[in-house]
């Protein structure tokens, strides 16, 4: 592929995630410090460019979409299109038909699975939960409830189980709701009845994390044991 073709393709990938202006800005701002110009790009430069694009683009896009951008860029470098289904994200994006297509992708409300290993993951989980809720048509308070509950569960996973997985399932029928399942492989919650009774205070927090989720949820279920903990809850919109 020639230099212009590479440049156009990079732009097209970026435009799937941000406006055309932002994409051009990000790309130019990435190439300049690398002493590369749009008219002399070579395929060998791609790995360097892709590495630099990741931090450069983060201010312009939803954090939950970062893995998908990384996958698509990697797909460009290896010549294999990213396998969309394997990438957790907010929805499928139609393949841009023309390089000028600048509109952000229309987000289809579909389930998301998030791996929680760090605080940044927890942060993107609550943002994703809120976005899903908003796309389902939830009002401010409901979106706030969902995001806060997801935040509590992600924090518990990080503090007590070293991480976990959070599934977000938007449902439209029979009722509009967001169902959340949080799973971890930690040692379980030893005194879950006490925690949920409201008479417990943890050393670090206020002991209200899990109880708070229960109080926020319209349906709540927790299963815990030495092999791990699963919390499932629904917030009806």
């Amino acid at each position: 592929m020639n230099a212009d073709g590479l440049h156009a393709q990079l732009l097209r990938v970026l435009q799937g995630f941000m406006s055309e202006t932002a994409a051009r800005l990000v790309l130019r701002g990435t190439l300049e410090p690398l002493k590369l110009s749009a008219s002399s790009l070579r395929a060998e430069d791609l790995p360097r460019i892709i590495e630099a694009l990741e931090p450069a683009s983060r201010h312009f896009m939803h954090p939950a979409q970062r893995p998908r951008l990384a996958a698509e860029l990697k797909g460009m470098a290896t010549g294999v299109p990213a396998a969309r289904a394997s990438v957790p994200g907010l929805g499928t994006r139609p393949t841009p038909s023309a390089p000028m297509e600048a509109a952000p992708p229309a987000l289809v409300v579909r389930p998301a699975t998030l791996t929680i290993r760090s605080e940044a993951d927890a942060s993107s989980a609550r943002l994703t939960a809120r976005t899903l809720c908003e796309e389902l048509g939830g009002r401010g308070f409901e979106c706030q409830k969902v995001a806060t509950a997801v935040s509590e569960l992600a924090r518990n996973q990080l503090s007590y189980a070293g991480g976990g997985i959070i599934h977000l399932h938007p449902e439209r029928t029979p009722k509009r709701m967001l169902r959340v399942r949080a799973e971890d492989k930690g040692q379980g919650i030893p005194n879950v009845e006490l925690v949920l009774s409201g008479n417990y205070r943890s050393k670090t927090g206020m002991g209200l994390g899990l109880l708070g989720v229960k109080r926020l949820a319209d349906r709540f279920d927790v299963r815990t044991g030495p092999a791990g903990t699963q919390v499932e809850f629904e917030v009806w919109l």
Binding site: T30, E119, F141, A147, R155, L208, L211, G212, R215
Partner: protein, 165 residues
């Protein structure tokens, strides 16, 4: 453009970047924005308490109007900060909590006991004894509106206008 560290991707990440603490009229103002990570919250506590000691601030307003999410952990941190500041003799007012955040915390049963709250930054500063002087206070505006209404009804004579052509 928010694009500072293209050459060093290992620069200060959002997780560790510091929250500003603004000294103003003998008080400290701490504006919280966006999404506070646990690391930032812990750093904030020690920074604020250090600044209180250095500046001798009598009061502090923590403005959370820019936060889109407040969970039990952040509440615990804020309550701990307020209590530690109180032990040092500094009053803390939490201002700017949004309606959805307030409803959510209330549903969760979080009370934020021992923390004074105010509707906004202005009210928060007023609680700490900062008085606004000048034309733009609420009372001054009300008085001006009253004056204008009186003039339009002909109850008072308007202030003489300059008529230099």
């Amino acid at each position: 453009m928010s694009y500072p560290d293209e050459n060093r991707p290992t620069g200060p990440s959002r997780e560790t970047s510091r929250i500003p603490i603004i000294p103003l009229w003998g008080q400290l103002i701490v504006p919280l924005q966006g999404d506070i990570t646990d690391a930032q919250a812990a750093q904030l506590c020690s920074d604020v308490l250090r600044d209180i000691q250095r500046s001798g601030a009598r009061g502090m307003v923590v403005d959370i109007s820019g936060l889109w999410l407040v969970d039990s952990h952040l509440c615990a941190v804020l309550a701990r900060l307020a209590n530690a500041a109180r032990l040092m003799g500094t009053r803390t007012v939490l201002s700017g909590m949004g309606a959805d955040v307030a409803l959510t915390l209330q549903s969760m049963g979080i009370q934020l006991e021992g923390v004074e709250t105010a509707l906004g930054l202005e009210e928060g500063l007023a609680m700490l004894g900062v008085q606004v002087t000048g034309a733009r206070t609420a009372e001054a505006e009300r008085a001006a509106a009253q004056q204008l209404a009186d003039e339009m009804l002909g109850l008072t004579t308007p202030a003489p206008m300059k008529t230099s052509a």
